[in-house]
Amino acid sequence: MKLLIWSTGIVAALAGAPLLPGIVNRVKAFFAGRKGPSVFQLYFDLAKLSRKAPVYSTTTSWVFRIAPVVNCAAVIGALLLLPIAGKASLFGFAGDVVLMLYVCGLGRLFTVLGALDTGSSFEGMGSSRECQFAILSEGAILAVFGALILLTHRVSLSGILAQMSLHLWSVDGTALILVGIGFFIVILAECCRVPVDDPDTHLELTMIHEAMILDNSGADLALIHYAAALKMWVLLLIEILLICPKFGGGAWGQLAGEILCVMLGAAVIGAVESVMARYRFRKVPQLLSSAIGMGLLAVVLLILFQA
């Protein structure tokens, strides 16, 4: 039963992830007073792309071809480490946070290397920015999880998230709010959303993630889009489990609540994108440093006010 619920959650994530960019775009369209594309647009795009024959640059080597594959496998791997509906992951262990962070880092490094493999100056520029921002966002994730480990005295992802409860919120609410905001900033950076990166920009000079995949096409591009959507699902799910840990209605109710809340999280990201402009590149490190700061501040609060 436990395994069934956990695997249902995984399948739901794998199947439902392409909905999230659709929701984000729909919300943005609503704010802009447009009708907007269908929520299922990414499904159509993925189906179309996977039927197209890819085009490879003559400059590229095997690195370019394997990069989208490794990136996609890495995000699926990260998903497999998550606890779902209160059930610990099959592969979880003490310290799996690090494994999740680093496997995502592997996906990112391959994307960067694939971009460098094309020899295009725009893709080099995108990689350069991605590398710069990744440093701080990784630091921020560790700062946030440092606070959570201090709070829950657990070391594994499942352990930490299982400890989250209304009671904990009533005791250490301030620290948890800081942790939640810090992690949300990380989500915006890792999923390449405004104010860090604008996925809809039309100018290559201002892109980050989109600039790195300018030369990808066909099934490769489909894998990249899919992995990006799935990464958003993974990160949003962690955020949801931090903020509203328990839903009623048993394990299945919990699962349904988590999935709904992930969709809601995507809507929030859409709203954030609609109401603010993206920052200048020089300001992004400040934003990410502030996420590290929130994690450290949460630690200080916990130490000061822990009985």
């Binding site: 594959v69 880092g105 493999d117 020899g119 990744a134 701080l136 440092g146």
Partner: protein, 612 residues
């Protein structure tokens, strides 16, 4: 010194003599020397296996001997191709000093008392000085070798001082040991010789020095420091703080370099920092009775020593192959080498990913244990210990991020994209003897995480500690397998979906003919990071701006000099030189003045004698 080490030393001696005897025939000399090193390594492997079966596997001796033998054999095989065409005499010189270094390193791990240890230590330093000096025709290399010798001798001097004080077992003894061995390890401030010596030395020597010689500092430190709780406290804090600084700033300076081997040398400083973090956490755990943290920290440090040896050996050998193929170490003059050197490129790329500590390669396992050690410190410790553990986790994450950028710069700049110069376009083919050792090390890098589960047995752990370590390592191995399966599945899907691919030029947003000159350079890749940390890096720019209506040439030259050297050692040494210059006035040439000085000195000594 046990039987196996003695036989290995004998084997090395015989092989060096053999290489000398056939110095007329280059090929013969090359193979004799390499065969001796490989045979010595096999003897050491046999010794370790024997020790393992007889439960005599000693951490200081057997473990470090394994590391030394592994890198020593791989580098020796690489040297056959690396030095090919230099003539039998050069080979003869190379093998005599190489085997002397190799043998001295084995002796260092095996000797237990002060004086013999110190002799072996000095021989190791001196012999490797000659190896760094091997390409003495270049004056830059000579300068680098002298800096290296200075570092070695200063370290030896500090160790002698420490051993003179050894009776006391005081804190001063420990800190002298720390400084003496730290000069070899490359702790921050003491690291200045590393980025000089590594680019100057031949690649196999860099691999041996970086992979196996610098971690020997840890071996010596742990062997001779007093194993008391108070000393564990000192050692823990010192290693933790040095590790925090070394790891982060080491990799930051690596990101600023454009010379491939210099970049790798700074990466070694970073990795020594990570190892120090592990050992530091471990000692603190021992001193403050947190067995979990102690176990994970020490285990992570030990694993990372081994992983670093495998990976840095592979990367330096790869850099050597690149140097031989293109004739340059400047990343901005390479590019597109993956097509010319497919095997070296694959090995280097995997090594670069692994040294960033990313799964599923071996670099991750060691870092994972250190992380978990830090996490258990965060969860269960208070006060300064908690702060140290938290800083360890955050600094490790930041370091990992910068490492990705620095190694993407190294691998991407050298192997990916279009060739940037003619030298790189016309790169020579790779040689079999240079490829095989890299492939062997790559195999280890891939296989280690799967077999790391034996570590608890190797360390003779039992009970709860055994369980904790083996669960983490087994789950990590399991995840590696799952990850490989995922890659295969996605690859299979892509193969089905991505038939009849077409090949055209890079799109590059509408440029008609993108060339290598329009590519993003390796330096540009890390420039935002260098700018962000400019206060520390102090990058120097020489710019010749574009000017006029018909601009002719423009130029930008970016260099990132070592801060410790610039702002600390140079200041001290220059100050000392000025002082010495002033003392020069005393050397007047008048005999009367000298006699007067002697009388003054005698009077002063008399006064001191009466007063004391």
């Amino acid at each position: 010194m046990d039987f196996f080490v003695r036989s290995a030393l004998g084997c090395l001696l015989a092989s060096a003599l053999g290489a000398w005897l056939c110095r007329k025939n280059e090929r013969c000399a090359a193979v004799t020397g390499a065969a001796g090193a490989v045979l010595a390594a096999l003897i050491i492997f046999a010794g370790s296996t024997w020790a393992f079966w007889h439960h005599a596997f000693n951490f200081y001796a057997s473990f470090f001997q394994l590391v030394v033998a592994l890198v020593g054999a791989a580098a020796a095989m690489h040297a056959i191709g690396y030095l090919a065409g230099e003539g039998g005499k050069k080979f003869c010189a190379f093998w005599s000093f190489y085997h002397l270094t190799f043998g001295a390193m084995l002796a260092v791990t095996a000797l237990r008392s002060f004086i013999p240890f110190l002799i072996a230590w000095e021989v190791m330093g001196l012999a490797s000085f000659f190896l760094v000096m091997l390409e003495y025709e270049n004056s830059e290399n000579q300068r680098a070798a002298w800096i290296y010798l200075l570092g070695c001798e200063a370290g030896g001097l500090l160790l002698m001082l420490a051993f003179a004080l050894s009776g006391g077992g005081s804190a001063a003894y420990f800190y002298l040991l720390l400084a003496g061995f730290g000069l070899k390890i490359g702790f921050p401030l003491l690291h200045v010789w590393l980025p000089e010596a590594h680019p100057a030395a031949p690649a196999p020597v860099s691999a041996l020095m970086s992979g196996a010689m610098i971690p020997l500092g840890f071996c010596g430190l742990f062997r001779f420091m007093p194993h008391t709780s108070a000393c564990f406290g000192h050692a823990g804090w010192a290693l933790l703080i040095l590790g925090l600084i070394g790891a982060f700033f080491g990799i930051l300076f690596a990101a600023g370099q454009s010379n491939l081997k210099r970049l790798l040398a700074y990466s070694s400083i970073e990795n020594m920092g990570i190892i120090s973090l592990g050992f530091g956490l471990g000692f603190l755990g021992k001193a403050y009775a947190h067995p979990t943290m102690a176990l994970l920290g020490l285990g992570g440090g030990v694993l990372h020593v081994f992983n670093h040896a495998v990976l840095k050996g592979m990367l330096f050998l790869g850099a050597g192959s690149v140097l031989r193929a293109t004739g340059t170490l400047q990343l901005d003059e390479m590019g597109g080498l993956m097509k010319k050197m497919p095997v070296t490129g694959r090995c280097f790329l995997c090594g670069a990913i692994a040294i960033c500590g990313l799964p599923p390669f071996c670099g991750f396992t060691g870092e994972l244990l250190i992380y978990i050690g830090a996490f258990s410190g965060i969860a269960h410790c208070h006060g300064a210990l908690f702060a140290g553990a938290l800083m360890t986790a955050i600094v490790l994450a930041l370091t990992g991020g910068v490492a990705c950028a620095a190694l993407a710069k190294a691998a991407g700049g050298a192997f990916l994209g279009e060739p940037r110069t003619e030298a790189s376009r016309n790169a020579a083919k790779e040689k079999l003897s240079m490829v095989i050792p890299q492939l062997g090390l790559l195999f280890l890098a891939l296989a280690l995480p799967l077999f790391a589960g034996t570590l608890p047995d190797v360390l003779h752990l039992t009970g709860k500690a055994h369980h904790l370590l083996s669960v983490v390592l087994a789950k990590n191995a399991l995840f590696c397998c799952v990850f490989y399966t995922l890659i295969v599945l996605v690859l299979a899907w892509r193969r089905r979906a991505g038939r009849d691919a077409r090949a055209v030029g890079t799109w590059d947003c509408g440029y008609a003919r993108p060339t290598g000159r329009m590519e993003y350079t390796a330096s540009a890749l890390t420039q935002p990071i260098a700018d962000q940390f400019d206060t520390v890096l102090g990058t120097k720019r020489e710019v010749k701006e574009v000017s006029g209506l018909f601009p002719a040439t423009a130029k930008i030259l970016i260099s990132c000099r070592d801060a410790a050297r610039n702002f600390f050692w140079d200041v001290i040494f220059h100050g000392f030189a000025r002082f010495a210059e002033k003392c020069h006035a005393l050397q007047s040439g008048y005999l009367h003045f000298y006699i007067f000085m002697m009388v003054l000195a005698l009077a002063a000594m008399l006064a001191w004698g009466f007063w004391a």
